[in-house]
């Protein structure tokens, strides 16, 4: 007989990451109690060691794939999950650790580890979608907790999450921030970066550094040309696009133009 009272199971999985996105979920304190009312938290390493076996209604995946073991494990997570949602820049674009994709990993291993032969690592750090089909990707380093809740609620209720794909600038103007690219020539990636953070950095007089990754139609080339005209040197342009979302196709292509 079908158990009608059974709550859908939510699982959180960690791959190569800093746990920041899981912490965003843990940060939802008040809301988490409500979450626990309607879903069973079956696996959430940051919160509890207990693991309830699958299958899972919704799996949130944090972190990128960096080892052969990860590669096998993500297949298992996918098999067990009805919906698989990646959370954060690591899971969605390979994260800051994807900087190694531009270099030779073995050279690093030889320098860093006393016994390089103990290390089993892939040549690249890659996004989850490079390995298994993904139902939804939530960007951010870390993800925004309101957006995370919105995604969880939307998937539980079978509706499309209200997650914008447009630029940070739109959020910046909506909150009445004065554009610091225009008033102070501060380099800002807002025009090519996806909204979601609420345009926090410009509100604190700092240019957007692109932690939410590329927006829907990022014209990085035009922005980079503008920044160069305003005096930014090639080296800095390369670094600007090579951070948390260095391996996302748009930012990768742009940084390579400045190599």
């Amino acid at each position: 007989m079908k158990e009608t009272s059974q709550k859908p199971k939510l699982a959180v999985w960690k791959f190569a990451s800093c746990d920041g996105c899981q912490l965003s979920l843990l940060n939802c304190e008040d809301e988490l109690l409500a979450v626990a009312d309607v879903i069973e938290i079956a696996n959430f390493p940051e919160a509890s060691r207990e693991v309830i076996p699958g299958p899972y209604e919704l799996s949130l995946v944090e972190g990128s794939i960096t080892t052969p073991h990860d590669k096998a494990r993500i297949q298992e997570v996918r098999r067990q999950s009805k919906f698989l949602v990646t959370i954060g820049a690591c899971a969605t674009a390979g994260g800051i650790q994807a900087l190694r994709n531009f270099k030779d990993v073995n050279a690093f291993i030889d320098i860093v580890y006393a016994h390089p032969d103990y290390i089993s690592s892939l040549a690249t750090s890659s996004a989850i979608a490079d390995h298994v089909p993904v139902d939804f990707e939530l960007p951010g380093c870390p993800v925004n907790k309101q957006q995370l809740l919105e995604v969880i609620i939307a998937f539980l209720h079978d509706r499309k999450p209200n997650i914008p794909h447009h630029s940070v600038c739109i959020e910046c103007k909506q909150r009445d921030t004065v554009c610091l690219a225009v008033t102070q020539d501060i380099p800002c990636l807002g025009p090519v970066t996806r909204a979601g953070c609420g345009a926090i950095c410009p509100a604190f007089n700092r240019g957007c550094y692109g932690c939410f990754g590329p927006m829907e139609t990022p014209n990085t080339e035009s922005l980079a040309d503008e920044l160069r005209d305003k005096g930014m040197i090639t080296e800095d342009l390369l670094r600007l696009f090579r951070t948390y979302n260095a391996d996302s196709p748009a930012f990768k292509m742009e940084s390579e133009r400045h190599e």
């Binding site: 409500a34 309607v38 209720h157 103007k173």
Partner: protein, 378 residues
């Protein structure tokens, strides 16, 4: 036609009295104030909140504050954000619903705006407000948020005595002189001997306020000085654009190769539409809570530069950035005429200044007009 109302002189030192009267009458006084390296609209507690002695320098993609060599109260041009933020807030909850038995109960959100007194509204901005009045209140269905905020809103306009490099109100016939729709209009005059305003009421509400002020009658010299201010602004007009036949020209230039240039340059960031005082598009989203007990409908500023804007089943109708820029320009200058009987542009120059890559609508129009490619016969 109502007979012209008398003009008066108001001394600069008595300007604070105007603010006090407005406060006594229950208005929330908002106007220009200096914040974050710009002059933008915010609450005015006293005259000292005004950008006294400051001005702005604007160019495509740049804005800088500069000290003036006098103590003008209104010696600058339009800033980053328009009055739109008060009359058409960037985020509004439209209604919410709560589950009740097998159905749900709707809670109509009633907007309870303060009674605004806008201080320092420029001619182009007043035109923009009137354009949005048409958009939000001109048809069969009125937008209650805009209508409610507009109802008691008092407008104290200021004639521009200077123009920014990005201004082109003369081309759009919206300024620099304030012509209608105001409760009070001021012209700020600073000469060697005096700092004062020529003040004129434009409505009964405005006249009642002027009556309470310690004003004195104007002399011909005051009127001449006021006219000279406006002339000066006209002379300084930083940009101009020829709007003759603009609708026909744009309509027959759908395939102009300029759009491909814009495809390369425009970031589709949407800043121009957010900054524009007439852009009225919004995005409506429903949110639900975890237990599906409560739902809310929110409206927020939208932009035709986003992919979502023209999303229909299968994708966006305007996937290329060039086609989105074309939509924007066509709407502002051509299709707006069909829709509302006016242009959608008042020549305030905000889209030029606040574009991170300095795309200039006046330059784009000129480039298209000078290099027509479509068959001019139609």
């Amino acid at each position: 036609m109502t007979p012209p109302r008398p003009l008066y002189r108001l001394d600069r030192n008595d300007f604070g009295i105007l603010l006090n009267i407005l406060k006594e009458k229950g208005y929330l006084t908002v106007g220009p104030t200096r914040r974050d390296g710009a002059i933008l609209y915010g609450a005015l507690e006293s005259v000292d909140d005004l950008p006294i002695g400051w001005t702005d320098e604007q160019e495509a993609g740049t804005y800088r504050l500069k000290c003036r060599d006098d103590d003008a109260l209104f010696g600058y041009n339009v800033g980053p954000h328009s009055w739109k933020k008060y009359l058409f807030p960037s985020k509004t909850k439209l209604w919410s619903a709560t589950k009740k038995g097998s159905g749900f109960e709707i809670d109509r959100e009633t907007d309870t705006p303060p009674k605004y007194a806008f201080i320092g509204v420029r001619a182009c901005e007043l035109h923009a407000i009137q354009i949005q009045d048409k958009v939000f209140m001109g048809g069969t269905y009125q937008d209650p948020v805009h209508a409610g905020r507009r109802r008691d809103c008092l407008i104290i306009a200021v004639n521009c005595a200077q123009a920014a490099n990005t201004c082109f109100c003369t081309s759009m016939q919206t300024g620099p002189k304030v012509d209608n729709g105001y409760d009070i209009v001021l012209t700020e005059i600073i000469d060697k001997a005096r700092h004062y305003f020529v003040i004129e009421a434009g409505s009964d509400r405005g006249a009642a306020i002027v009556k309470k002020l310690p004003v004195s009658p104007v002399q011909q010299t005051d009127m001449d000085a006021a006219a000279a201010c406006v002339e000066n602004a006209e002379k300084q007009m930083g940009r101009k654009v020829d709007m003759t036949d603009i609708k026909d020209i744009l309509t027959r230039n759908y395939d102009n190769k300029r759009w491909a240039e814009l495809e390369k340059k425009c970031l589709a960031c949407g800043n121009c539409t957010m900054a524009c005082p007439t852009c009225f598009c919004s995005n409506v989203e429903d949110i639900t809570d975890l237990g599906a007990e409560h739902a809310e409908r929110w409206r927020s500023w939208g932009s035709c530069f986003t992919m979502d804007f023209s999303y229909i089943h299968g994708g966006s109708v305007r996937p290329s950035i060039g086609s989105r820029y074309r939509q924007w320009l066509m709407h502002k200058l051509a299709t707006w005429l069909d829709q509302f009987g006016t242009s959608g542009c008042v020549g305030c120059g905000r889209c030029i200044t606040w574009c991170p890559v300095g795309i200039d609508l006046t330059e784009e129009v000129k480039a298209i007009c000078d290099n027509e490619e479509g068959d001019p016969s139609g």
